[in-house]
């Protein structure tokens, strides 16, 4: 079994009087695909946000490898998200004004990659995801499935160790959703990136190696798919 790449130990998160995470323990290994499911308000999105460093935990600790990240400053966590993690959001959440290749190149450019190299790498990723002919298109000019594949290309362009996907198929029809998940898992496997997917979609969850069900801020069920 591979080493844990990301782990949460006794993670607690509160919003005022409401406890969203009540001491969650979770371990993600390199190349592993984990689906987090559960009813609305169960804490699955909050868990993803805390693991990704978007939200600081109020208790417990999150480790990236052996490095604790909870106490890092927002700037340090932002740097971590930029370099170690990739994100795929519902509806893509790409920058509407940028072309596909510019959107995909953005994480590389933010990391200091020169323009030509960044754009070249982005084009490669677009070709890899079957979007070679859409490099100059804007997010508003492509279909929902193509949009999500663009988002996957953007999430993977800088070769992150973990990809967080928040309802990546939520806005897609079943078939397009399946195609999108296939694309995500395929390229993740090729780069050995771990994938953490928050989803309501059982067919998506079935594609994960492990399914974690959240209830009332706690992990209720851990199951191998």
């Amino acid at each position: 079994m591979t080493e844990p790449i990301l782990a949460g130990r006794g993670v607690v998160k509160r919003y005022g009087d409401v406890t969203a995470l009540a001491g969650v323990d979770i371990t993600i290994r390199a190349g592993e695909v984990v689906a987090i499911v559960g009813p609305s308000g169960s804490g699955k999105s909050t868990l993803l946000h805390v693991l990704a460093g978007i939200l600081p935990a109020d208790g417990g600790e999150v480790f990236l490898g052996t490095k604790p990240i909870t106490k890092l400053s927002e700037t340090e966590r932002s740097k971590l998200r930029r370099s170690e993690f990739g994100f795929v959001f519902q509806s893509g959440m790409l920058v509407a004004e940028l072309t596909a290749e510019e959107n995909v190149a953005l994480p590389l450019l933010l990391a200091g990659t020169p323009r030509n190299q960044g754009i070249a790498a982005a084009r490669e990723w677009l070709v890899r995801l079957g979007l070679g002919g859409l490099a100059d298109r804007r997010p508003g000019e492509v279909s929902g499935g193509q949009l999500q594949r663009m988002a996957i290309a953007r999430a993977l362009a800088h070769r992150p160790r973990v990809i967080f996907a928040d309802e990546p198929t939520g806005a897609l029809d079943t078939r397009t959703g399946e195609e999108t998940i296939t694309a995500l898992l395929t390229v993740a496997r090729e780069t050995n990136a771990a994938v953490v997917i928050v989803t309501h979609d059982e067919s998506v969850a079935r594609r994960a190696q492990r399914v974690i069900e959240m209830r009332d801020g706690l992990i209720a069920v851990r199951a191998a798919a």
Binding site: S45, H49, A52, I54, L55, T75, S78, K79, L80, R81, R82, S83, F85, G86, F87, F89, Q90, M93, L94, V95, A96, E97, L98, T99, E102, L106, P107, L109, L110, P114, R115, R138, P139, G140, E141, R154, A155, D166
Partner: protein, 743 residues
């Protein structure tokens, strides 16, 4: 649920829509208050002019028709001007304007409240003694230009006024007071160029968070709402905000009147009632402002109505095309045609000029997105950093939205450049003293001053121990004919060297004329005509044969010919008396002059310059106020539009921040996005302002005088745009990584 109910529900339930409505209401309130304030300017000037209408009316063509003789002069105490009316009743019933309680008889005086108070507070020989007689009443506000105006009406016997008064049928108010044409033109120009940024502010407020609204409405359209329902919903949402705003704006106008009334103009402040907007203007603003806002919001919905899918998916917007330049060309043509017509056709053509001016201002807003798009294209092809890429793409992709933040600044820069281009020319038309008389010399000019009056003055001064030289001067002309003549003054060269702006090195007693150095004259052909001698031949009296011609050195503004009195022993009356004063005796000499020579107009370089300084100060103040308003409007519009554009892209920014994009990269992108078009557009607007200003100065017979200050509006515009861009920072910092999942 009908669209109106839906709109109200949205406003109740959605805090951001509510905030947007509040911003819209605030923008409309500020815009409406400013429009009403600006529109009140001509009315305020007219109210002042109407109250002093009695001073300029009822002149009688024939003395037989006259009921009163009035000598109107300007006096002063310190830097304050006194309007003085020496009056003599000719008939029992003299029509009087409201605010004049009675016509003072001989030995009676009417004072304005401020003058009465001032006279009581100063030693009598510095002020009160100027008004010979008993104070029998005070002017009411209806007869005063402004509350603290210093006005005196001194009653005389008709014989006492002599030739110094004008026969009038009465002192009743004119139907409409006269306003200086220059002021009218300047206020109209100010009105047009400042209303444009007001409208931009209102439009910016109306379009605040437009993208968010567009997405919501597009979703409704996709869900089956009809275009009419979508339009009704938007109209209701913006109508609620704009009606609240316009009512607030109209309400603001009333306290604003008291503030505005404190701004000095032409030597004094105002009555707050001067600034009350007319009922017509109030009605217009109450109706038109909400209509404009609702219209702007509904027009902005075209995409959500016609292509809801495109709006919902935020598809690329239609790019502005080069045809927009035609607007600018068309506006420029209208303006130039208007100018040429106004120059030849008079005031009635001014409307075309003002229309052209407004059209140029509006066309700048039309051309702005085109320039923004071109700029975006340039940056998209040359970007090296993510922030430049983000900014460039935004400018290229949605130039209309990107330019919205700069529109107010552009118009402010246009207004500022126009004002500063005109300012030197307008200011140069203010007359300063020409140095004809020396500094410190008080000059009383009137028609035929008797020797008795002059001796009375000398005696009064002597009684007070004042040893000030009193020089009686007969002014006139000298030349070969009436047409070919120059100014002449009859006095001795010894007296002239005391009072005139010239050096008489060749001064010797005896009959002679003194001409400016190096000026050749043929004394045998010259004839002198004294203005104070009524029965003198039209061409004047020839100089005695073999008159001595001597030269003097002009050192000030006197370039005429000095005639020694011994050349014309028969001319004894003078029309001008000059008194050499010292700072210590100046006020007393002034009082004695006014007291002894009723109806004469008093001049000194200092008084004249003080009056010019007042006018210049008014002009500077008006320009400064106009520029400040334009700057604030531009800045607020830019801040509102920039902040709105961040709120509109809240989810995208949230996602970028979640993915690790440093906020400083986004801040930098936003600053570039706001600054780049502002930088280019303000330079263009500055240039347009200077060009339009150079055209407008021709209406007042001026010419363009460029100086480095002309760059101020452009620099100010860029600074304001930068501040507005920086204002995005706090809004952006409120966006968190979790906002991507919002809505």
């Amino acid at each position: 649920m009908n669209p109106v109910q839906l709109a109200i529900r949205v406003l109740r339930g959605d805090s951001r829509s509510r905030m947007s409505a509040l911003f819209t209401a605030a923008g409309v309130a500020v815009g409406a208050a400013l429009v009403l304030w600006l529109a009140a300017v001509p009315g305020a000037l007219q109210s002042r002019a109407d109250r002093e209408g009695w001073r300029q009316a009822d002149f009688a063509a024939d003395k037989a028709d006259a009921s009163v003789v009035v000598a109107q002069t300007r006096d002063n105490v310190g830097a304050q001007e006194i309007q003085r009316f020496d009056v003599a009743r000719l008939k029992p019933n003299v029509p009087l304007a409201a605010g004049i309680p009675k016509l003072p008889g001989p030995g009676e005086v009417l004072l304005s409240p401020a003058l009465a108070e001032l006279a009581a507070s100063l030693p009598a020989d510095q002020l009160a003694d100027r008004f010979k007689g008993r104070v029998v009443g005070q002017f009411g506000p209806e007869a005063l230009k402004f509350p603290e105006e210093l006005v005196a009406m001194v009653g005389h016997d008709p014989a006492e006024l002599g030739e110094n008064g004008a026969p009038r049928t009465g002192l009743a108010a004119a139907r409409s007071g006269y306003i200086n044409k220059l002021l009218v033109v300047l206020s109209q120009i100010g009105l047009v160029v400042l209303i444009a940024p007001c409208l931009v502010l209102v439009a910016s407020a109306a379009r605040l968070t437009a993208a968010r609204r567009e997405r919501r409405l597009a979703a409704l359209r996709l869900a089956g709402a009809t275009p009419q329902q979508v339009v009704s919903m938007t109209a209701t949402e913006t109508a609620i905000a704009s009606v609240v705003g316009v009512v607030l704006g109209v309400g603001l106008t009333f306290p604003l009147r008291y503030l505005t009334a404190r701004i000095p103009w032409d030597g004094g402040t105002w009555y707050p009632s001067d600034w009350t907007p007319s009922a017509l203007m109030l009605t217009l603003v109450l109706v038109v402002a909400p209509a404009l806002v609702v219209g702007a919001a509904v027009l902005g919905l075209r995409r959500a109505v016609s292509r809801p899918l495109g709006a919902a998916q935020q598809q690329t917007r239609r790019q502005p095309n080069a045809a927009r330049l035609l607007w600018l060309v068309g506006a420029a043509v209208v303006f130039v045609v208007g100018l040429s017509q106004a120059r030849s056709g008079g005031d009635s053509q001014m409307f075309v000029v003002l229309f052209g001016l407004a059209a140029v201002a509006v066309s700048l807003v039309f051309v702005g997105p085109l320039v923004t798009s071109l700029l975006g294209r340039m940056f998209v092809s040359r970007w090296q950093s993510p922030s430049t890429l983000l900014a460039g793409r935004r400018l290229r992709d949605d130039p209309k939205a990107a330019f919205r933040a700069s529109a107010g600044v552009v118009l402010a820069v246009f207004a500022g450049s126009l004002a500063l281009a005109m300012f030197p020319s307008v200011e140069s038309q203010i007359g300063y003293s020409n140095g004809r008389f020396r500094d410190g010399v008080y000059v009383a000019q009137g028609a035929g001053l008797s020797e008795e009056q002059v001796n009375g003055l000398r005696s009064d001064l002597s009684q007070r121990g004042i040893n000030a030289p009193v020089v009686a001067i007969a002014e006139g002309s000298i030349g070969t004919s009436v047409r070919e003549s120059t100014t002449a003054m009859m006095m001795t060269c010894t007296d002239a060297s005391k009072v005139l702006g010239a050096r008489f090195d060749s001064c010797r007693p005896g009959p002679a004329i003194y001409v400016p150095q190096a000026q050749a004259v043929d004394a045998t052909r010259l004839k002198f005509r004294a203005y104070s001698v009524p029965d003198m031949p039209e061409d004047g009296l020839p100089l005695p044969a073999a008159v001595s011609v001597r030269e003097y050195q002009p050192t000030g503004g006197f370039h005429g010919i000095l005639v020694d009195p011994s050349l014309y022993p028969g001319i004894s009356s003078a029309d001008t008396v000059a008194v050499v004063t010292s700072p210590q005796n100046q006020d007393v000499v002034h009082t004695m002059l006014v007291r002894n020579l009723p109806g004469v107009s008093l001049y000194s370089n200092e008084r004249y310059d003080a009056r010019a300084d007042t006018l210049s100060g008014d002009l500077r103040r008006a320009t400064l106020i106009g520029l400040s308003i334009a700057t604030v409007l531009g800045g607020v519009s830019a801040a509102v539009a920039s902040a709105g554009s961040v709120v509109d892209r809240r989810r995208t920014f949230g996602a970028l921040i979640a993915a690790g994009t440093p906020v400083r990269v986004l801040t930098k992108a936003l600053r570039r996005e706001a600054m780049l078009p502002a930088l280019v557009a303000t330079v263009g607007a500055g240039l347009a302002g200077v060009l339009v200003g150079s055209g407008l100065v021709t209406l007042i017979q001026g010419h363009l005088a460029l100086n480095p200050w002309i760059l101020t509006p452009v620099v100010l515009g860029v600074v304001v745009a930068l501040i507005a861009a920086v204002a995005c920072g706090p809004v952006l910092r409120k966006i968190t990584a979790r906002d991507y999942s919002d809505e």
